[in-house]
């Protein structure tokens, strides 16, 4: 079972040889880890965000597939004030699903491979400008792969309670006695 975990440093566990992961030409090498857009780091079966101290392990999908999924999630629903970990939480269930259902695994791996192929050298994640990635996504937006990922994000991303305050949404109010004394009619700028 994969878990999202906090860690203090991006200390890599003994990573598998980079060549074996088939990633070497694509990304910057950094002492046995692979940096993705200088933000996410793949280490062994983990994707680590060194600066903000979180990581995610994969057991069924390739870690680089998961890293690209996280970027894809952000490209589909880009919120510049929302940190990567929320996107990671949103797409993480695909790793477990890939373990239970070979069809899901194939759809995700093939879908990501297709994005990489369309992106050419450097792969999808190597495209620096969002517009270049969007040009690819517009070509695949009707595929089951894209629609599955997009549809899953609607709840996977926006139904995370921790994300709500970042949008100013206060969520549950019953336990606080509703808004009758907490600003239900406090608008002043009208």
């Amino acid at each position: 079972m994969v878990t999202i975990f906090n860690r203090n440093a991006a200390a890599p566990d003994t990573p598998e040889p980079i060549e074996k992961q088939g990633l070497s030409r694509r990304d910057l090498l950094k002492g046995g880890t692979i940096s993705l857009g200088a933000i996410l780091v793949i280490s062994g079966s983990s994707i680590i965000h060194p600066e903000f101290a979180w990581g995610l392990e994969t057991s069924n999908l390739k870690p680089e597939t998961m890293a690209t999924l996280i970027q894809l999630a952000r490209d589909i629903y880009p919120h510049d004030h929302i940190p990567d970990r929320f996107y990671a939480i949103a797409v993480k269930p695909y790793d477990a699903k890939a373990g239970e259902d070979p069809k899901t695994k194939k759809m995700i791996e093939d879908g990501i491979a297709d994005l990489d192929k369309r992106a050419g050298k450097g792969g999808y994640i190597g495209l620096g400008w969002e517009d270049d990635r969007l040009a690819i996504l517009r070509k695949v937006e009707d595929t089951p792969f894209f629609q599955t990922v997009r549809g899953g994000l609607v709840t996977g991303l926006y139904n995370q309670e921790e994300i709500w305050p970042l949008f100013g949404y206060e969520g549950e109010s019953y336990s606080k006695g509703g808004y009758i004394a907490r600003g239900f009619g406090d608008i002043e700028w009208l």
Partner: protein
Amino acid sequence: MAAPFDLKDDSVVVIIGSGAGGGTLGNELAQKGIDVVILEAGARHEYEDFTNNEWDSFGQLAWVDKRTTSGDWRVAKDFPNLPAWIVKSVGGSTTHWAGASLRFQDHEFKALTHYGKVKGASLLDWPITLAELEPYYAKAEDKMGVTRTNGIAGLPGNNNFKVLKAGADKLGYKECHTGNMAINSAERDDRMSCQQTGFCFQGCKWGAKWSTLYTEIPKGEKTGKLEVRPNSMAQKIEHDKSGKVTGVLYTDKEGKQQLQKARIVAVAGNSIESPRLLLNSESTMFPNGLANSSGQVGRNYMRHTTGSVYGIFEKPVHMYRGTTMAGIIRDEARHDPSRGFVGGYEMETLSLGLPFMAAFLDPGGWGRSFTSALDQYVNMAGLWIVGEDMPQEDNRITLHKGEKDKYGLPIANVNFSDHKNDIAMRDHAYEQGKALYEAVGATRVFPTPPYPSTHNLGTNRMSEKAKDGVVNKHGQSHDIKNLFVSDGSQFTTGGAENPTLTIVSLAIRQADYIAKEMAAKTI
């Protein structure tokens, strides 16, 4: 005898569904000393069980049994297996409704007369008038504690309402207020007042909003004359050789099939499930389903012409604070064909929490156009359009040819396409909504497509003549004297108003009629 009733007791009235129609009818009959069994497909969740979380609540309350969709409505593409957002729980959709309680206008009971023949529409006059229904509207408003009736004060306006009101004033609208709401503005009927919690759609945890769950049903149960059986899914209505209905076959909470005998059966399962049940009750004697000699069962499905408009402002609104339907503009509800359509529409505030806003703002949408809107969630105000849609013969509920539910009965398909009149009305309303918010300084406005239907109407419609509809002016089927329809599927046309008050009024009136006919031994 006292509730609970024996399965073989054939003296009881069996009501299918416990919402606005079924729950009200059940209590009204029980108060008159008539024995009633309500079969409710959903579980019983009391109001303290409700949750202030949109998706969790959806999982708790929504009717999510599979249905299919067809037609050109966008719901068929975006939510192909969720044509309606209604409830499967004791209390039915009165747990979920916003509380807006408006009387129909006089002309809306005579749509054909006032609008004339509209090409492609199957318009018909109701067999009753506003004058006939007025005493029952008055009873319903008192029962439900509707604000701005019976001396009950209106609710205070929240931020979303204040934006609406400011825009209404700018556009010169005259009739804008915090609505006629079945939400207590002060303690009443042993229920507390509204705490402006929001989450009206998720069930009111204070019980401030009227729902049959904690008003009609316990009051009926207290008489010893009403038994509510939750988790009891009606499958088929049975009849005898004379064609009279004799009982209801249903699956109980253990999944076992039971037959509850009945003197009278009243169907109140909402406008998708009610016709489905009648169609699934086909027999050698009634090969097209019960009460269907006209071929009208399932036809003329209406869902109101809806849509939403959200505006983004420079400064915060916090629209989600307080009642969901916090105010109304009624000026466009009139019939005025100079606008390019017949009938009218109401504009009512609406808000969704962030999770549902993400799901419904632009279903299927993605990219920065979409996310930059959500980024401004706090600065958003919203309104919902509720207008009269045209009944059309082919907008209908049919039994699916291939797919069956877990009990082996065909599921429902909901076919719906907009009429030209519906589109013209919606476009007009989008323009007015946009103008309204821009008048208050909106920097961006979104015409949001209709959500899965909450107002499902018309699939067993009332008609003067048996060939034009399914039931008469008392909701009694034209074909079978002891079979009634007690929900919004009786509506001949939809009007511009939220339907619940009319459903409740019809149920009170129907109870009087059933009691009278039972006493006279005609049924």
